[in-house]
Amino acid sequence: MKKESISKNIIEISELNKWYGDFHALKNINLNVKEGEIIVVCGPSGSGKSTLIRCVNFLEKFQEGSILVDGTELTDDAQKIRKIRSEVSMVFQHFNLFPHLSIIDNLTLAPIWVHNETKAESREKALKLLDRVGIKDQAEKYPNQLSGGQQQRVAIARSLCTSPKIMLFDEPTSALDPEMISEVLDVMIELANEGITMICVTHEMGFARKVANRIIFMDDGQIVEENDPENFFTNAESDRLQLFLNQILTH
């Protein structure tokens, strides 16, 4: 299931620092992600984990350090950013589907407008993806007619539409009712097994244990600890991680 890859780094983050006004949100982050690697980022709220992955597709600007995505360095250059965004997809906590467009139009928007695909081919691909996430029959509905779990699966299908190399998940199950979490996690697990590079911010430790190659624990804007799943849960080195694990695993 988990494969030890010896492939190249697809994301290289070095010396990354970010401030919101005076607040030092990310402190000296260094992180390399290999192609096909599944990384889970966890930590208490406000620890900077969402900010970190939002830097990777430049939804957040940073002041110091550098991020290389598939060899391209992130700068203010609009062309480069669009190129990177077509390779890096993101799934949001609140789905952020476009409520004025039907499900199928949500999916085909980027292929048609960003990748210049024809309506017919993008539609065919979109239907395949909807089939894969199990909601092909809802294609003509509007987002607000679906349940939260279905909306998040649509959001995942939408982010797959552009055939990205990297998927970023920003707490994809946090806004869902408990009974809908597993349907979304199942889709994510399936994706993980297909070898796409993933960085997931999530507190679903069962998911992390099952598919992650590495788990990263962040606190106070820094990476405190990173380890493979077995050692992460059993051999926490820092007190902060131990405390965090105690808090979330006792339930």
């Binding site: 952020n96 928007l109 552009t162």
Partner: protein
């Protein structure tokens, strides 16, 4: 503990429904409410009967012989004149006699088929918009119609280009002029307003600065001032020989004025769009223009429909101010019509007629906006 059986649904108790109960609950629920009801009834009693008397009961409807689509209808022996109408009630033959003036101003009487054709085309356009809904090349047809409509209307109304005899703009008047000014003002100000609203939210500080400056300047000045400036100051910018049409100047003033208000209305809609929508649009790689045109504006404009219509209605009413720069709009022709020595002093009938027509049009507009809201409401469609 026993398991409860499923309960059948029942109608509410009799005491909860019925007209008497409604009256009791809504009109006489408290002592204060009862007093207000009584006061309202009294005010209606002293105002409605005299009003109806003036408008209808004692009013003069002697139009003489009226031809409608080939049918001759007889209203009274012959048309009443100003003197045998009486002063205590409405004299509607005045409106009938001056009807062409109310609608067309001083437009040459032998050319009235031209504005009539424009009216008919306008009605057809609305029908066409509904009918093309299911056609294949819907958007192309609509764009074609929307581009050709103003061109055709312009040629019909003002002539020129060797096709039709020219009609000078000062001959346009009445309801027709009011509609032209309102329509041009509302339609042209709309895209300008959208650009200003986007400019106000732009990340480029110069664009933002000029948008804010423009919007705040215009909104802080009454329309009347802008009309005066357009009619008196604008010509100073041109060479002595160049004269700019009075109507064009009024149209520019009204459009610039309305654009600032439209910008604020659209900005309200833009601010209601959650940040997540912008982020999702960015994340899938849309450019700035794609993001706004495909994602943000469709949602923002939809939210803004009630306010866009509200603002358009108030512009429609404000167009009556053009009378101060000497344009004979719907309201201004009342003075003209009542200055006719045959019908001296019949202002009141004129103003009542204008008020009724405007009310019908504006109320229709506001109902139409309600329908639009429902039609575009995909978010909560179930």
């Amino acid at each position: 503990m026993p398991i409860n059986e499923l309960q059948a649904t029942r109608n509410p108790p009799k005491s909860q429904i019925g007209a008497l109960l409604w009256i009791k609950e809504n009109l006489f629920s408290t002592w204060m409410n009862g007093a207000l009801t009584a006061l309202s009834l009294y005010l209606l009693y002293i105002s409605v009967p005299p009003l109806l008397n003036w408008l209808l009961i004692s009013a003069n409807f002697n139009f003489g012989t009226v031809n409608i689509f080939g049918f001759s209808l007889q209203f009274g022996e012959e048309m009443a004149t100003n003197s045998n109408c009486g002063r205590n009630a409405a004299c509607w033959p005045f409106i009938y006699e001056k009807f062409d003036m109310f609608i067309y101003g001083f437009y040459p009487r032998e050319e009235l088929w031209r504005p009539n054709t424009v009216f008919a085309l306008t009605a057809l356009l609305f029908v066409a918009v509904r009918l093309t809904n299911n056609l294949k090349h819907k958007n192309r047809i609509l764009v074609g119609l929307l581009i050709s409509y103003p061109v055709v209307s312009y040629i019909l109304l003002l002539g020129g280009f060797g096709i039709l005899p020219t009609v000078e703009t000062y001959k346009l008047g009445g309801l027709m002029l009011t509609l032209i000014i309102a329509a041009v003002g509302i339609i042209i100000s709309f895209p300008i307003g959208i650009l200003l609203a986007l400019g106000r939210q732009s990340e480029l500080s110069t664009v933002r600065f000029f948008s804010v400056m423009y919007i705040e300047f215009i909104r802080a000045v009454p329309l009347i001032t802008i009309l005066f400036m357009a009619s008196n100051v604008l010509p100073l910018f041109f060479d002595a020989g160049v004269t700019m049409d009075k109507l064009v100047r009024a149209l520019i003033a009204i459009t610039l004025f309305q654009a600032a208000y439209m910008a604020e209305v659209v900005r309200g809609g833009l601010q209601a769009i959650p940040k997540g929508q912008y982020e999702a649009a960015d994340a899938i790689g849309l450019s700035y223009y794609q993001k706004n045109i495909l994602i943000v504006l469709p949602q923002a404009l939809k939210i803004s429909i009630p306010n866009i219509v509200g603002s358009s209605i108030s512009l429609f009413k404000d167009t009556t101010l053009v009378l101060i720069i000497g344009l004979m709009d719907f309201l201004a022709v009342v003075t003209g019509a009542a200055a006719d020595k045959e019908w001296l002093g019949r202002h009141l009938e004129g103003y009542v007629f204008v008020a009724m027509v405007l009310w019908v049009m504006l109320y229709t507009m506001s109902r139409y906006s309600k329908k639009l809201e429902l039609r575009f409401n995909t978010e909560n469609k179930n």
